[in-house]
């Protein structure tokens, strides 16, 4: 399972990449592998305020709809509009082209509560 070293993780299988005061958010390789066949992605509105550990987006596979939780609180500055036409990017490239939304962090201290790559690997039993 691919768990890049430069990212922070949640127990609910999101990743966050910190770029200054902005966090880029997506789902992990493990998550896309478990979900498989992602066919629809519902993203938050740009400028929406999101809260850490609250349902912020929805990923739908053939089987089921899954909530995606924001790893950090803040305002959404951008969403990946490519996912509307090509939701399968989440399966094919979860850490790059499959990014979901960006949050300008209101409380960067929350980053300290996220899992390190080693902790996440242990969490999923990898």
């Amino acid at each position: 399972m691919n768990i890049p070293e430069n990212l922070k993780y949640t127990k609910t299988h999101e990743w966050a990449r910190v770029e200054g005061d902005v966090a880029v958010i997506g789902i992990t390789d493990h998550a896309q592998h478990e979900l498989t066949d992602i066919v629809y992605v519902e993203l938050p509105q740009v400028d929406a305020r999101v809260e850490a550990n609250k349902e912020t987006a929805i990923v739908e596979s053939v089987k089921a709809a899954s909530d995606i939780y924001a790893p950090v609180s803040g305002d959404v500055t951008a969403v990946n509009t490519e996912l509307a036409a090509t939701p399968e990017l989440l399966n094919k490239d979860p850490y790059n082209k499959g990014w979901m939304f960006k949050v300008r962090m209101s409380d960067p201290v929350q980053l300290g509560e996220l899992l390190t790559p080693a902790q996440y690997a242990k969490h999923i039993g990898a």
Partner: protein, 371 residues
């Protein structure tokens, strides 16, 4: 989800786990939902060939001079129409005209029938049938019929897809909805030309001890045709594209065959049967709701069970089965709507998380095939 330690396992359980299948609870059984991708498994069956473990399904033998009479009392279709070696889709009905289960009944011999029933209903069906079979038959022993639950002594697999017949040349002469005793690679099995996918194919019933050998043999034979082991996920998307009902979702003991569009499997000209009075009344008065198939009109979240169906701002029903169709690339589903709204071509809406998305009622099947 049901705790896994309480679930039953089929003889192929170890083979599924070994090949990396994702296992889930279904109808009291621990079954593969997918091996890697539902979409890939689905398309393999539409284009090539797929193999499913259906050992969880139940098998009941009904035998004796009064077997035909008992079945015509218990089931809605007419067992008299079956020649030896022939099967029919039929329904186990209750007194209110509801559907206890749907099944295929095969006539194996003049006075011996095999019923293949749904996994989650085996005990309930068998209890109902043993209790009610006698009502139709004389009570002296030599004229009776015997019911035997063979589910634990029977494993089953379904070989489905356009290349299925090339993987099983032993059964190439078998006609659709017919069953035959065959030897496949030295193993005795019953092979029926039936399935739940809309493709050509076979269902093989065998002894549990032979299941792994047969499974392995069919996978080996299918390799040159691109065979794919398939889980319940693909089984569900395949059947839904064909609008085959799933008992528990689309048909239940509170829905009638007439509401579900299954009237052609109810024989009103065979004499009395359980549920007849209720169904005759319904037929005379007309049904108030009908099961329809629909297709989403654009890109939207997949429709799913229990989502409301809306027309002209009014809620007209609810989805009983819904998914993203791998063949069509759009959302599809079925659900009951008020009878007046059940017109093919009618524009409806599906309410998904508080937002309405356009859809169109379609005449079944949802996947129109050229063949």
């Amino acid at each position: 989800m049901v705790a896994t330690e309480k679930l039953k396992r089929t003889p192929l359980y170890a083979a599924h786990v070994e090949s990396g299948a994702k296992m889930v609870g279904f109808g009291g059984w621990e079954m593969p939902v997918q091996y890697n991708s539902i979409v890939e498994e689905h398309l393999a069956v539409r284009r090539r060939v797929g193999l499913f473990d259906i050992s969880h399904m139940g098998e009941v033998l009904v035998a004796g001079p009064n077997a035909e009479r008992a079945l015509n009392h218990l089931l809605t279709n007419d067992a008299r129409r079956l020649a030896v070696g022939q099967g029919q889709y039929t329904l186990l009905g209750n007194d209110d005209g509801g559907i206890i289960d749907d099944l295929i009944a095969y006539r194996l011999e003049p006075t011996v029938y095999l019923l293949v029933i749904n996994a989650s209903h085996i005990e309930r069906d068998f209890d109902w049938m043993t209790t009610h079979a006698w009502a139709s038959t004389p009570r002296h022993a030599d004229a009776a019929c015997v019911l035997e639950n063979r589910s634990d002594q029977t494993a089953a697999m379904a070989l489905q897809g356009p290349a299925a017949a090339r993987c099983l040349p032993e059964a190439s002469g078998l006609k659709r909805f017919h069953i035959q005793q065959l030897r496949v690679s030295g193993k005795d099995c019953r092979v029926a030309r039936t399935g739940y996918t809309g493709e050509d194919g076979f269902e093989l019933l065998c002894a549990p001890a032979d299941a792994v050998a047969l499974w392995t043999e069919l996978l080996a034979r299918g390799r040159e045709f691109g065979i794919q082991p398939c889980g319940l996920g693909a089984r569900d998307t395949l059947r839904l594209e064909m609008c085959y009902p799933l008992h528990g979702n689309d048909i239940t003991d509170a829905t009638s065959p007439l509401e579900a569009g299954l009237g052609k499997y109810v024989s009103f000209d065979k004499g009395d049967f359980i549920g007849r009075t209720a169904l005759e009344k319904q037929r005379a008065k007309g049904v108030t709701r009908k099961l329809v198939a629909f297709r989403m009109a654009g890109k939207c979240p997949p429709p799913r069970q229990h989502y409301p169906i809306v027309a002209a701002g009014q809620r007209i029903g609810e989805i009983t089965s819904g998914t993203q169709s791998p063949s069509l690339g759009t959302g599809i589903g079925m659900g009951y709507v008020t009878a007046g709204a059940a017109t093919p071509g009618a524009r409806i809406e599906i309410e998904i998380r508080g937002k309405n998305y356009p859809a169109v009622i379609e005449k079944p099947p949802l996947l129109k095939k050229n063949t």
